[in-house]
């Protein structure tokens, strides 16, 4: 994952110069493309069980959403007076995305173990917490825009039914 080292080096120069180098957008596009390809891989690779593939997909998708948010901030940094804050925010976030991408790259050829998935889940939570602190986490509206709301509600209802069955089986409230 040399690309991360290159981007981080570039960001450090930008931070020192207090100026955004527009070429960063192209670098981020490269990372976004990497994530998109990986997402596609987890969707189509039927050899990996759905629940495991989903976790890999979920981590990749979140990394991509955060990178997209970062890219938008770089694009609008001039007009939004977000410079050099966006640079220091990106320096905080990118190592956490690199951690996730390294895990995702390493497991593509291997058996996916519960330990790796649990490790990945913790890394993802850390990334989302960091992204939330520096306003790089997509809002609910951004997340659900373009999705079929009817299907979203139907899938959520399934989870609710599952939780109800699990937690409320015998308690006979009121």
């Amino acid at each position: 994952m040399e690309i991360f080292e290159e981007i981080l080096a570039k960001l450090e120069i930008m931070e020192e110069a207090c100026k955004v180098d527009a070429s960063i957008v192209e670098d981020l596009d490269g990372l976004i493309k990497f994530c998109e390809d990986k997402e596609q891989e987890w969707v189509s690779n039927e050899e990996i069980e759905a629940r495991d593939a989903f976790q890999l997909f979920h981590a990749t998708r979140n990394s991509r959403l955060i990178l997209n948010k970062m890219k938008k901030r770089f694009i609008t940094s001039g007009e939004m007076h977000d410079n050099p804050k966006v640079v220091s925010d990106a320096i905080r976030i990118l190592p956490a995305i690199r951690d996730i991408c390294e895990i995702l790259s390493s497991i593509s050829e291997k058996y996916v173990t519960p330990e790796i998935l649990s490790f990945l889940s913790k890394k993802l939570r850390n990334l989302r917490n960091l992204a939330s602190q520096v306003s790089m986490l997509p809002s609910l509206e951004e997340e659900i825009s373009g999705l079929d709301k009817r299907k979203l509600r139907s899938r959520f209802n399934r989870i609710i039914t599952n939780l109800q069955a699990k937690y409320i089986e015998m308690q006979g409230l009121g």
């Binding site: 989870i159 939780l163 409320i168 006979g172």
Partner: protein, 253 residues
């Protein structure tokens, strides 16, 4: 202290509102109502959680989604939908957790408490095993009733025995999990710490919908041998969100 399941119920309730879905079971309302009360009295710092509870809540939320993912047929569509749901529920869970005080715990002391907790559940499980089955109990007891009433008496004895001991029978059908024992051990540690800090008048409650903590109330019966054992051994009161909310309100008057 707010248990994992209450946190999950409140966060899923909040997301259901985002999607304009009305949840039918009143438990979700009651979990949310308790969280609302804790939020209202945030400055009093009466709602607490621990790192174990937080980790469990995130894990259980993920697991609930994964269990549904196991059943999907169209990965392309469903992965995005379930990923969105998981993110949104986790965001809400994070918000709920922000209304609670996250207490650090001393692992050494928690480990010592864990042994006491494990012994208590072991003793309760032995007690549960020694109980006659409801059918056996009713068969013996009906003999003390006049012959004409035995059929009705059998049913009454069966239901009474089953419901009164429901919490013990539950221990056999669903043994207590390690995480539950750790959470109770952490609660004992915090309760002892609070007593040392704030004096012996401190009351410690656990709000949970887990029968390994809270009573089972069904068909007019209440089964609470496990809840009572926790109260008698450790001085901690466990109950459902609604009951805990009512207790808290009486203290906050």
């Amino acid at each position: 202290m707010v248990d994992t399941n209450v946190l999950i119920a409140a966060s899923t309730y909040m997301f259901s509102r985002d999607l304009s879905i009305e949840l039918k079971h009143k438990f979700f309302d009651q979990a949310m109502s308790l969280i609302g009360l804790l939020k209202k009295h945030l400055a009093k710092r009466i709602g607490i959680t621990t790192p174990t509870i937080e980790d469990e809540a995130y894990y259980n939320l993920e697991e609930a989604v994964r269990e549904e993912v196991d059943k999907i047929t169209d990965r392309k569509v469903d992965f995005v939908l379930f990923s969105t749901i998981l993110n949104s529920c986790e965001n809400r869970l994070k918000e709920v957790l922000s209304y609670l005080l996250r207490e650090p715990v001393d692992q050494h002391q928690v480990n010592q408490n864990y042994l006491k907790v494990a012994n208590m559940y072991e003793a309760l499980t032995r007690k549960a095993r020694a109980l006659p089955t409801p059918k056996k109990y009713a068969t013996i007891r009906k003999k003390s009733v006049s012959p004409g009433l035995r059929t009705a008496a059998f049913d009454a004895f069966l239901i009474t025995h089953k419901n009164r001991n429901a919490q013990l029978f539950h221990l056999l059908s669903k043994p207590v999990e390690e995480s539950d024992k750790i959470i109770l051990a952490e609660a004992i540690y915090l309760f002892n710490l609070y007593k040392q800090t704030y004096g012996k008048g401190v009351t410690f409650l656990i709000s949970s919908m887990d029968h390994h903590f809270s009573p089972i109330r069904k068909s007019g019966f209440e089964s609470r041998p496990v809840t009572d054992a926790i109260l008698n051994n450790f001085g901690i009161m466990c109950d459902w969100p609604y009951q805990v909310e009512q207790t808290l309100k009486s203290y906050l008057k």
